[in-house]
C-alpha cells in the first residue's frame, strides 16, 4: 500500500489562490469521495497532484510514500503510478488512439509490449468499457462524444494499470447506461487500486464502495465523514455548512442546489 500525503498546500491559478493550506491523505487501498461547491478547489487539487503547469504551488508539500511529487515532471508522476481521468480530455488531432496507448504503455515498462500482448490487453479493455474496438483506430478523442471521451479515460486507466486513480467529474456527460458501465468497472477495480472521485452526482457514489468522504470548501477540508455525508449533501446542499461557521469561496457563485440535480438546474437557469 502506498500513501499520497498532502500538507499545507497553497495553490494559485492565474494569480488567484484557490487552495489555502490543504491537508489531506489518500491511499492506494481505499476509495475517497471528494465533494464541495464549484470553485472551492476540487479540480485544482487533482490537477496540481498531476503537475498541470497552469497551477502554481505557492507553499506546501505532496509526498507519495518517500517521493517528493512536486519535484517530479508530469510523466514521472504517471510512472510513479498516479493517473488523472480528466474532466475535459483533450482532442489531439492526427494522433491515433491505439498508437498513443501503446506509447503510453511502453513508457511505463522497461521492455516494449509485444504486439500480441498489447492487442489482448486493448481488446479486453474495450470490451470491458463497452466501446467498439474500431474506435482504437480513430484519433485520440477527436470527434468523440462527451460520454465516449469519459469512457476512453477509464479505458486508459485499465491499460496503464495505475495504483492511485484521480477521477475528475468522470460521470458528467455520461448517459444512464454509461454510468453503469463506468461504475461497475470502478467497483471491480477498487480492490486493486485507490480512487479519489470528484462528482456532483450521488448516483455514481451510490454504485461503488466509498471509504471516506471529504468536503472541500474554500481551499481546505471543511468536513470529513462517511457515505451518509453524501446523502445529506444530496438532500440539503452545502448551505448548512455555513451554520457550522464554515466560510465559502466565490460567495456570489455559490448555489444551494443538491448535488443530484445541480447541473440540470444550472442549465435551466442559464436559459
Amino acid at each position: 500500500m502506498s500513501k499520497l500525503v498532502i500538507k499545507n498546500l497553497h495553490v494559485a491559478v492565474k494569480g488567484k489562490e484557490i487552495l489555502k493550506g490543504l491537508d489531506i491523505e489518500f491511499s492506494t487501498n481505499e476509495t475517497v469521495a471528494l465533494l464541495g461547491p464549484n470553485g472551492n478547489g476540487k479540480s485544482t487539487l487533482l490537477q496540481t497532484i498531476m503537475g498541470n503547469p497552469n497551477y502554481e504551488v505557492i507553499k506546501g508539500s505532496i509526498y507519495y510514500d518517500d517521493k517528493d511529487v512536486l519535484k517530479l515532471s508530469t510523466d514521472e508522476r504517471s510512472k510513479l503510478g498516479l493517473f488523472l481521468g480528466m474532466q475535459y480530455p483533450s482532442e489531439v488531432p492526427g494522433v491515433n488512439n491505439s498508437d498513443f496507448l501503446k506509447a503510453a504503455l511502453n513508457a511505463h515498462r522497461e521492455k516494449p509490449v509485444s504486439l500480441f500482448e498489447f492487442y489482448k490487453l486493448l481488446n479486453n479493455a474495450y470490451e470491458e468499457m463497452h466501446i467498439p474496438f474500431e474506435m482504437a483506430n480513430r484519433n485520440l478523442n477527436e470527434g468523440f462524444s462527451g460520454g465516449e471521451k469519459k469512457k476512453n479515460e477509464i479505458l486508459q486507466m485499465l491499460v496503464l494499470n495505475p495504483d492511485l486513480v484521480l477521477l475528475d467529474e468522470i460521470d458528467s456527460g455520461l448517459d444512464v447506461d454509461a454510468i453503469q458501465v463506468v461504475a461497475s468497472t470502478i467497483k471491480k477495480e477498487q480492490a486493486k487500486r485507490g480512487f479519489v472521485i470528484v462528482s456532483h452526482y450521488a448516483k455514481l457514489y451510490e454504485l461503488i464502495n466509498i471509504n471516506r468522504v471529504y468536503v472541500l470548501v474554500n481551499g481546505k477540508v471543511a468536513k470529513v465523514g462517511d457515505k451518509s455525508l453524501i446523502k445529506k449533501i444530496d438532500q440539503e446542499g452545502y448551505e448548512w455548512l455555513k451554520d457550522e461557521g464554515i466560510e465559502f469561496a466565490n460567495e456570489e457563485k455559490m448555489n444551494s442546489v443538491s448535488i443530484g440535480s445541480c447541473a440540470t438546474k444550472e442549465a435551466l437557469k442559464e436559459k
Binding site: 488523472l84 489531439v92 498508437d99 498513443f100
Partner: protein
C-alpha cells in the same frame, strides 16, 4: 543548377517519387494525371519548381521538406487550359537556426481551373518558416476555384513563423479563399499526453507526427521511416 524535366501528356497517368531535387520543370497536358511526391533531406539552399497544367489534367504535389539547412523555395504553377487542376501539399520541419522560405504561387490563366494549396510547418529552436505566394485568377478565368491554407506550429520561444498568402482576383464568378494560422504548441495537449507517461520529447514527437500525418502518410514506407527518424532527431 541541374534542371529535371518531367513531361506527361496524352492521357497518361503517372506517379513519381523523388528524393532531393534542385530545379524541376513539369508539364501535365491533355487529359493526363501526375502524382508527384517530393521529399527533401538535402542541403540544397535554392529550390525551384515550375509547372504547367493543361486541359482536363491534374497535377497532385506532395512535398515534404526535412532538411536542416536554410531554404529558399520558389514555385509557380500555371493552369493554362480549361479543366486544369492542381492540389498542393507541403510539410516542412525547421530546427536549430535554419531559415526557410516557401513561395508558392498559382496562376489561373483560363476559366474552370482549380488550385488547392495546403502548407504545414513546424518551427523549432531558433528557426524561422515563411509561407508566401499569390494565387492569381486572371481576367476571363470564370468558374475558377482557388484556395490557400497555411498552418505553422511554433514549438519554442525563439522560433518564428509567418504565413502571408495573397489572393489576386481579376474576375467575377469565382470561388476563392485563404486562411493562415500560426500558433504555439497546445499546452493542454502536452499536459494530457505527459499525464499518461510520455516524456516532453515523446509528447512533442507524437503531436508533430500527428500534425504532419496528412502529408507524411502519402509517401512510401521507406520515406515514411526516414521522416520519423528525422523528426525524432529534431526533437
Amino acid at each position: 543548377m541541374s534542371v529535371q524535366n518531367i513531361f506527361v501528356n496524352n492521357r497518361e497517368n503517372k506517379t513519381i517519387e523523388l528524393a532531393d531535387f534542385s530545379s524541376l520543370n513539369i508539364e501535365v497536358l491533355d487529359n493526363s494525371n501526375l502524382n508527384l511526391k517530393l521529399v527533401n533531406f538535402s542541403k540544397n539552399n535554392n529550390l525551384e519548381f515550375n509547372a504547367k497544367v493543361g486541359k482536363n489534367s491534374t497535377l497532385a504535389v506532395i512535398f515534404a521538406d526535412f532538411s536542416d539547412s536554410d531554404i529558399q523555395f520558389k514555385s509557380n504553377v500555371n493552369l493554362i487550359e480549361e479543366g486544369a487542376n492542381c492540389t498542393w501539399n507541403l510539410a516542412t520541419l525547421s530546427s536549430k537556426k535554419s531559415q526557410k522560405q516557401f513561395d508558392v504561387s498559382f496562376k489561373h490563366l483560363v476559366g474552370s481551373t482549380t488550385a488547392i494549396m495546403d502548407n504545414y510547418g513546424v518551427a523549432k529552436d531558433e528557426s524561422k518558416i515563411v509561407f508566401s505566394g499569390t494565387n492569381h485568377i486572371t481576367e476571363g478565368a470564370k468558374k475558377s476555384v482557388t484556395r490557400q491554407n497555411a498552418k505553422i506550429i511554433v514549438f519554442d520561444k525563439e522560433a518564428n513563423g509567418t504565413a502571408s498568402p495573397i489572393l489576386k482576383i481579376d474576375e467575377n464568378d469565382v470561388v476563392a479563399s485563404h486562411g493562415a494560422v500560426v500558433g504555439q504548441l497546445n499546452s493542454d495537449h502536452m499536459f494530457y499526453l505527459m499525464s499518461r507517461g510520455l516524456t516532453k520529447e515523446e509528447a512533442r514527437m507524437i503531436i508533430t507526427m500527428g500534425y504532419l500525418k496528412p502529408i507524411s502518410t502519402k509517401f512510401s514506407e521507406d520515406i515514411q521511416k526516414r521522416i520519423v527518424e528525422v523528426i525524432k532527431e529534431a526533437m
